[in-house]
Symmetry: C2
Amino acid sequence: MSKFVQKIKKIRLKNKSLLCIGLDTDITKIPKFLLKETNPIFAFNKIIIDNTFDLVCAYKPNYAFYEAQGQMGLEALEKTKRYIPEDIPVIIDVKRGDIGNTAKMTAKFFLEDMTFDGITVNPYMGFDAVEPFLSYKDKCSFILCLTSNRGAEDFQLKDNFYLKVARKIVEWNKNGNCGLVVGATNPDGLKRIREIASSIPILIPGIGAQGGDIKQAVTYGGENIIINSSRSIIYASSSEDFGKKSREEAIKLRDEINKYREGR
Amino acid sequence: MSKFVQKIKKIRLKNKSLLCIGLDTDITKIPKFLLKETNPIFAFNKIIIDNTFDLVCAYKPNYAFYEAQGQMGLEALEKTKRYIPEDIPVIIDVKRGDIGNTAKMTAKFFLEDMTFDGITVNPYMGFDAVEPFLSYKDKCSFILCLTSNRGAEDFQLKDNFYLKVARKIVEWNKNGNCGLVVGATNPDGLKRIREIASSIPILIPGIGAQGGDIKQAVTYGGENIIINSSRSIIYASSSEDFGKKSREEAIKLRDEINKYREGR
């Protein structure tokens, strides 16, 4: 069992949670009073983490939000990674895919230098673009399969292309360190992917702001899932009480997920 | 005609060139004597640009190489962008694809804040992941279609999937600001894509280190192409003379491309 799998199993039990919070921290959306802080993005994340660390099985910062803020953003990301308790896996959402020598550099940067536990990867360029990530055996590479956005119809759903991707990922999972990204917005797709990839962790975005169905995500995804929610939790309030409100939202979502787990 | 198209037409004529140099500057591969510079990556790029700016129709830095160096890398990228003569288009190679709000942030960062002229985009997530890039009408979004790596066989070449992608990109090209990425390693694929996308600029990597055929790239791609070479030019020498050697390699490649243009 890879270190990632061990880590997420432990924290799922400890926090009784399949919830992942997406730290997609947009400086234009955080409460205004934080803007006076040296690093407003980190100040925001710190309060979100303080209020939710006992409710989640993972955090998932989307790199684009940090990169867009230049040096301050990168510093916020580093500080956030260090601030998150060691026993909670952190998945960096970068959706990368590039030829071997480039992918190798990206994998080293995020998984080794920045010590993230998991990463999201784009499958379009095939195995040699994914392999450098998979060479990190103790990490987990979540490969995009069926995404939660409308554009999934353009290619992924054409002739069930996403199922070919799922089958390939099962082939690539020799070290047990692949994951899949499957949006909650297509429960039937999730069901079919789970039939193909029975033992691979599935990261499920599309709950909350994007309208995916939690009951079906749990019913079809099973226990080995990570349900991500970002905006509906982190922007639950824009006042001084945003930490408390994010906690309330996280509890609500965690409990709703758990209700369907028990009902299975 | 978009600003990007005008700009590249002008410089192609001025420099008599379809050559793009990939500034994939790897700190472990640059001449050792540069490591004493405050910013070795920029120092390297500066010398490459000084020696090649009159030979190219574009430069293409791959972002992964800069990001992996943290603050120094980002600074090198900014300085490189500013140092490149204003009349030469600079394409930032990031191969991104993410849901709308994230893509919007990425597009703003690279095309507006960092003022790059073009960007590479991954099509896997479909239209709404590409649209934020296309909303920059004066820029060019080069969408991956058939890549130069071996992994292209895993999905792109299965049931000619890449042709479906090419057809979609033609649909998306309403503002005339789409481009395609097609590797030189598959001339037959390039030929078929050109039949579908007759007027869209094609960025062609895979020459040089990856072994693609220049004659076929020019024959099938036509005049509206940008042939990228990176490693074989920028690492032509690891001695003090690397600038001069990169110039010699660039002249050789530019002239070889032009020989086939004349022969068409």
